[in-house]
Symmetry: none
Subunit: 142 residues, 2 copies
DNA sequence: GGGAAATTCACCACTTTTCCCCACTCTTCA
DNA sequence: TGAAGAGTGGGGAAAAGTGGTGAATTTCCC
C-alpha cells in the first residue's frame, strides 16, 4: 500500500521516476486523468476494479458520462525503464500542468502525480479548512 | 502503552532516537501530521485500521479526497536502525518546525514528537488555562 | 518504394541521497 | 567503581534519481 509523498523531477522527455518503495507493487500500472488536476496511477488490479465501477455508472446521467470519459478515455498503461521511470504522454502532462518539479503522493490504493506548485497551493487551501477536517475525524471513528 | 516525556535531539540527517522503552511496541510504525503542530506516531497495526477506512471513502467527493491526501500522503512508514532511531522526512520536519531539540511524549496509544520550544510554549499556555480546561472536562465525564 | 528526418527507446554515466555500520559519551544500575 | 545500556555523531558503501547520447524504428516526403 502506498503512503507518503516525494519530490521528483520530470525531464524534457516526460520521464518521471516513481519512488523505489512503490515499484514492487506497480509492475503493471495504469495512469489516467484524475480529479483536482492531478494524475492517478493505479496498479493494474486496482484499475480493473475501478474501470468496472465506472462502466456500471448510469449512462443516462451527464455528469457520470463525463466522469467515465475522463478516467477511461484518459487512461494509459505504463512500463518502467531500467531506472524505474515511466514516460507520461503529452496529453497527460498538459492536463496536470506538469513542469519540471512534480510531487508523487501515495494514497494507499493509488498514487497521485502533481505539479509541485499546484500541490503546494492545494495544501495551503486545505490547511485553512483543517479544523473542519479534524472535526470529521470523529465521524470516521478515528 | 506509552507514557512519559523525553528530551532527545535530532541530527542533521533528520534522525531521532525514540525512547528505548517504546521500541518493543513499535517495530513497525507510522508518523503523521498531528494536531497543534506536532507529529503523531502510531503502531502500524493501529494506523492501518484508520487508513483502510480512509481508502474506502468515495473518491468522487472533494472533501473526502482532501481528507485522504492530508492523512495518507502526509504520513510515512518508519523503521528503526540499529541504534533505535527513525528518519523523519523533510516535509514532516518542517510541518512540526523541528530543529535540534525535540520532545517525545507518550500518550498511551500514540507518541507525539514536538519541537522543544513549541512544547514548552504550549505547556505554559496550558498551565494558565488549566482550571478552565478542567471545568470543561466535567462534560466528558472525567 | 527509397531515403532522410524525426521520434522513440534502451543503455550508459554521473550526482546525490540514503542507509548501514562503527565509535564515542553519558547515564544508570549493580 | 565498573559494566551495560541508551543516546549522539560521523564516515563509507550502496542505491536511487537525473541527465544525456547513440541506435533503432517509424514517419513523412520525394
Amino acid at each position: 500500500m502506498f503512503v507518503g509523498q516525494y519530490n521528483h523531477s520530470m525531464d524534457a522527455k516526460g520521464r518521471v521516476a516513481l519512488p523505489a518503495k512503490f515499484r514492487a507493487e506497480l509492475k503493471k500500472a495504469v495512469v489516467t486523468k484524475g480529479l483536482d488536476n492531478c494524475l492517478f496511477v493505479y496498479p493494474k488490479k486496482e484499475w480493473d476494479k475501478m474501470a468496472e465501477k465506472l462502466a456500471a455508472l448510469p449512462v443516462a446521467k451527464a455528469n457520470t458520462r463525463a466522469f467515465s470519459r475522463l478516467m477511461l478515455a484518459g487512461a494509459m498503461e505504463i512500463e518502467f525503464d531500467k531506472q524505474g521511470r515511466v514516460i507520461l504522454p503529452e496529453y497527460l502532462r498538459s492536463f496536470a500542468g506538469l513542469k519540471k518539479d512534480v510531487v508523487v503522493a501515495g494514497l494507499y490504493t493509488r498514487l497521485e502525480i502533481w505539479d509541485q506548485e499546484a500541490w503546494l497551493k492545494y495544501q495551503k487551501e486545505m490547511e485553512k479548512n483543517s479544523n473542519d477536517i479534524a472535526e470529521n475525524l470523529n465521524e470516521l471513528g478515528v
